[in-house]
């Protein structure tokens, strides 16, 4: 959540600021808002920008690419079985003649959406539940932590197996929600612990004594101060969500044949990795690049949000020196 929230926040405030008439002639001493500063600091981080471009590029590729290809993922070319990449099938074909490019793009679509959404939803739930439990304590804490403990002790795969007949044929949204529902509990516990210590910090008390309502204190002071943890958690969750989805698909729901995801493809073609490497390398390569790009963006965001990070500042000095020279 924080990932998007902060980006949205940044965009929102800068948009509003540039739209307001007072800013028509910016005073030299005019201060930047947090959102704008974070955006500037993020933009300074080249690797994070590369990551962002890669993610956007993969989305474009996944959704626009199939339109440009003459093959679709559920079509078979009976003239080419297990062909390595060549002009007609740039990623090659599998043993029943499906175009690997069309298949990989279809899988990428699913995995991009599932990976990012699951990570965002589970981290958001973790942040909200953990911060609320830690901040309000009392009944809210008891109830929320009871839910956390319950979900932790329940064998998630068993539950999903029991529920799977009911899921069959329903939308992929259910899969996202199921995956997210079993990924947030441990983070929520960590978040709660951090909230307990943050709550005693004087700046939180100061906000309380100036009349800031609790939900705003959580959103403005508590969650941003845990941003490093949440971002790391979200980036790790992206990868694990894609893999967990593979596991669920194996149990017979989630993404079902002929529909594919990167996870199902990796599972399916893993045994051909040495004999027909293109079957395995393309989906696996895309997954690695995707997770790597998410990590870069996450690192960049963390550095941009963390005022003690010197990486961004040191670059600042260098650019200044360049300007002076």
């Amino acid at each position: 959540m924080t990932v998007i929230l902060n980006e949205g926040d940044a965009a929102g405030t800068t948009g509003a600021a540039s739209g307001s008439p007072v800013d028509a002639a910016p005073e030299p001493e005019k201060a930047m808002t947090r959102g704008r500063l974070v955006l500037i600091r993020f933009m300074r981080n080249k690797l994070a920008l590369v990551g962002l471009v890669v993610i956007i590029g993969m989305y474009l590729m996944a959704f626009v690419g199939p339109l440009l290809s003459k093959w679709t993922y559920d079509q078979q070319d009976y003239a080419a079985f297990l062909e390595p990449p060549y002009a007609d099938h740039i990623f090659g074909t599998d043993k029943i003649g499906t175009d690997m490019f069309a298949l990989t793009m279809r899988g990428l679509q699913k995995s991009l959406i599932i990976g990012l959404l699951v990570a965002l939803i589970s981290t958001t739930i973790a942040a909200v539940v953990g911060a609320a439990a830690g901040y309000f304590l009392g009944v809210a804490d008891k109830a929320l932590m009871w839910v956390v403990d319950l979900l932790l002790v329940l064998p998630s795969f068993l539950i999903i197996a029991i529920l799977s007949p009911w899921f069959r044929g329903k939308s992929w949204w259910l899969l996202v929600i199921m995956l997210a529902a079993f990924q947030w509990m441990i983070t929520a516990r960590i978040v709660r612990g951090m909230t307990l210590t943050l709550k005693e910090r004087e700046f939180v008390k100061a906000a309380k004594f100036m009349g800031q309502p609790a939900r705003k204190i959580i959103a403005k002071h508590i969650v941003p101060n845990m941003a490093s943890l949440l971002i790391i958690d979200a980036t790790i969750n992206v990868g694990s969500a894609v893999l967990a989805e593979t596991g669920l698909s194996f149990f017979g729901f989630g993404v079902q044949s002929p529909d594919v995801s990167l996870g199902t493809m990796i599972g399916l073609y893993a045994e051909s990795a040495t004999t027909f490497p293109w079957l395995f390398l393309f989906p696996a390569g895309f997954l690695v690049v995707f997770v790597l790009a998410v990590n870069w963006v996450g690192d960049g965001l963390r550095d941009a949000l963390d005022p003690t990070s010197t990486r961004v500042r040191r670059k600042e000095k260098k650019t200044k020196e360049k300007a002076a020279a």
Binding site: S20, V22, E27, P28, E29, K30, A31, M32, T33, R34, L37, R201, E202, F203, K205, A206, A207, F209, M210, G211, Q212, K216, K220, H221, P224, N225, A227, L305, D306, P307, T308, T310
Partner: protein, 709 residues
């Protein structure tokens, strides 16, 4: 001290002739991200047997590093050159095993934080015994070492030492821990004791006890003592000689009396002038030293103090001045090219500082000219009570007791007035503050802010009151959200209370200027500012809503003395400019005397004396107030040595189980002298606050004036 004579060698037999410690041209530097930090640059000093040398300086001046170098405790990345001779033996270049034979036996150290100086998992007795066993292995049996540990604990004034030796460090209070650390330091009868800010983490009453204990330790061991501190008051009565450090060098050294009376270096002058004095009743101008200590990575040529010095001339920037003899005596040296001109001023000590630094006293606020009883009441507490339950059990919590944190206190603050609330830690000051700031219905009694009672306000009204009341916290590091820019920090209260965006953008730079900061730094994060600047930002945030009452929770106790003066001056100036009322919570009575109009002294959840500040300080009626006042050191060695100090025995009793009758009687020196029938009155009847003089009340059955300053 009969026991001690048996335990220690006679002080008159030093191992060798000459100084115990001779440091010559010591240089210490560390590698860092920004380049090499030259923490100590050419320091020379010596300590004779039985002599107390005070090293004074701001944080980062290299005073701790130089003594760690003596102990050989610097990290291996440090580069050390020069000479450190202990009893004629060179210490630099010795390996760790050789140094270990000296460390703890011939040289011992007392650290600042008594909690981290003791291992939490061993009993205090074991740790002291270990200090003996390590050095006298074979010569002393384990049982003998344990016996000796108990004797040492007894010597440092820990009651019931046999039992307490078996206690763990967390079962000791801060003062007792520091005593235990001192016991460990003198366990092997050292020839040199290095005390690094030994009283900084302690309460004033405990500080007095610990200083006296160090004096005792010096008497029984005959050791030379190096005492490091940032507080010129602490060393005034204790040290024989003084060395003032700045930017890794000694800038002035000499006999204590000479330095306090005829400082010859502007920095020393500034330090002296920046301390609020307990013994000065008229408004005294405090000298703030502007700016911050220089970075020690690449110092510009010239005097390192030049950028902050009011007497700077062009010649100051050419070369760093060496230490030269001043006033024709080799004992007193200062590093300044204009010492003669300072000597030419007629004024002495702090007055000269005021003259040279040009400090001014803030005007009285307009509203203060109206008689007090005609001004509006801003805050009124009436018999406020706050108790915490003490629970036991995990599954079934049962109440086993009550902590009476605040036990019925009453006071009022009127417009444009400062009330200082003082007391030891644990007396309920902070609880009182939190009760006021929370604005909830109190457990007992009543809080009213600007005439509105907190017991019958709804959420909306409470929100409205918050606008008139703001808070400045003690720790400038923790009170600003590290993830918000300064602009957002200061803007936050205005955003909460629905100010328009342009209004906020106009007011934030204005507030920055009001507290003496440059508005072009608004888009920086709090981490890029120094402690004093951060405290100013905290004050700017508190003033954003134009409140009537500002609650200040120890606003200067975390700051260096020179910075502290600037913040106090700012607070005074703001008060006169904006007609604010302050509730000023502090444990430093000199600061309270300087800034407050009225003062309330708290002890164990009760106000035991309250009144007009000069009346309370000049003619204290309650024995606790007298003890508190006498415990505060005065930065004047002559006065300080003549003062009679009332040392309170023991620590604050637990508020869960306060003594019957008068709560102070267990530590009261007056009570101890009374005949039994009068003592019974103290034990059975709780004294009520009675009027002693105009605007001066005290809660003691046998209140009498005692001059302690």
């Amino acid at each position: 001290m009969t026991t001690s004579e048996i335990q220690f060698d006679t002080p008159a037999t030093p191992a060798t002739e000459g100084p115990v410690l001779q440091v010559e041209d010591l240089h210490v530097s560390f590698p860092s991200e920004a380049g090499r930090v030259h923490a100590v640059r050419g320091l020379s000093y010596h300590v004779s047997p039985g002599e107390v040398l005070g090293i004074v300086g701001e944080s980062g001046s290299g005073k701790s590093v130089s003594s760690l170098a003596v102990m050989g405790l610097l990290p291996s990345s440090a580069r050390i050159s020069g000479s450190i001779k202990f009893q004629g033996r060179e210490l630099i270049g010795q390996n760790d095993a050789e140094l270990s034979k000296i460390r703890g036996r011939r040289i011992s150290m007392v650290f600042q934080d008594p909690l981290s100086a003791l291992t939490p998992v061993y009993t205090v007795g074991d740790q002291i015994a270990e200090a003996i066993l390590v050095h006298k292995k074979g010569a002393v049996s384990k049982a003998a070492a344990n016996k000796r540990a108990v004797e040492l604990l007894d010597l440092v004034g820990i009651p019931n030492a046999v039992e307490r030796a078996k206690a763990f460090p967390h079962e000791f209070s801060g003062g007792m821990r520091q005593r235990a650390v001192i016991a460990m330091a003198i366990a092997n009868d050292p020839d040199l004791i290095i005390a690094d800010e030994p009283t900084t983490a302690l309460d004033v009453t405990v500080q007095a006890q610990v200083l006296q204990l160090l004096e005792t330790a010096q008497e029984v061991t005959g050791a030379g003592i190096v005492i490091i501190t940032h507080d010129l008051g602490v060393v005034a009565g204790f040290a024989d000689r003084l060395m003032v450090m700045y930017a890794g060098r000694a800038v002035e050294k000499g006999n204590v009396d000479e330095i306090y009376q005829q400082p010859r270096m502007p920095y020393t002058l500034g330090l002296l002038g920046s301390i609020p004095r307990l013994d000065v009743s008229e408004k005294q101008a405090l000298v703030p030293i502007k700016g911050n200590p220089p970075s020690l990575t690449d110092l510009p040529p010239g005097c390192p103090f030049a950028p902050r010095c009011p007497m700077v001339v062009d010649a100051c920037h050419t070369a760093e001045p060496p230490l030269v003899d001043v006033d024709g005596s080799a004992e007193h040296q200062a590093a300044c090219i204009r010492t003669n001109e300072i000597a030419a001023t007629d004024a002495e000590g702090a007055e000269a500082a005021v003259e040279i630094f040009g400090a001014e006293v803030a005007d009285e606020p307009e509203v203060a000219k109206i008689p007090r009883d005609q001004r509006d009441i801003v805050l009124e507490l009436d018999q406020l009570v706050k108790e915490y339950p003490v629970n036991k059990g995990v599954v079934f919590k049962r109440r086993v007791g009550t902590v009476h944190a605040v036990a019925g206190i009453s006071f009022d603050i009127r417009e444009g007035e400062t009330l200082g609330l003082v007391g030891e830690s644990g007396c309920g000051k902070t609880t009182t503050l939190m009760e006021i700031l929370n604005l909830q219905k109190p457990m007992g009694g009543e809080i009213s802010v600007l005439g509105t009672k907190s017991s019958d306000v709804d959420g909306k009204r409470r929100f409205a009151i918050r606008r008139d009341m703001s808070v400045v916290f003690q720790d400038p590091m923790a009170s600003l959200d590290p993830r918000l820019t300064i602009h957002d920090c200061i803007a936050e209260p205005m955003q909460v209370h629905g100010y328009a965006k342009d209004e906020i953008n106009r007011r934030v730079p204005e507030l920055m200027r009001l507290v003496g900061l440059r508005p072009d730094q608004l888009s920086r994060y709090p981490g890029e500012f120094s402690g004093g600047q951060r405290q100013r930002i905290g004050i700017a945030r508190a003033l954003a809503l134009e409140p009537k009452l500002v609650v200040l929770d120890e606003p200067v106790s975390a700051l260096d003395v020179s910075i502290q003066a600037g913040v106090i001056n700012l607070l005074e100036e703001l008060k006169s400019k904006l007609g604010l009322a302050y509730l000023f919570v502090a444990h430093d009575l000199s600061v309270v005397r300087h800034i407050a109009d009225r003062v309330a002294v708290m002890y164990l959840g009760k106000i035991i004396e309250i009144g007009e500040v000069d009346s309370v300080f000049d003619a204290p009626r309650h024995p606790y107030t007298q003890a508190l006042l006498s415990a505060i050191p005065i930065p004047d060695p002559v006065k300080e040595r003549q003062r009679e100090r009332i040392i309170l025995t023991g620590d604050l009793p637990s508020p869960a189980n306060p003594p019957s009758g008068c709560r102070f009687r267990t530590r009261c020196f007056l009570h101890a002298q009374l005949p039994p029938e009068k003592q019974r009155q103290c034990i059975e009847v709780e004294p009520l606050r009675e009027v002693q003089a105009e605007d001066h009340e005290a809660a003691c059955h046998f209140a009498q004036i005692r001059q302690v300053l």
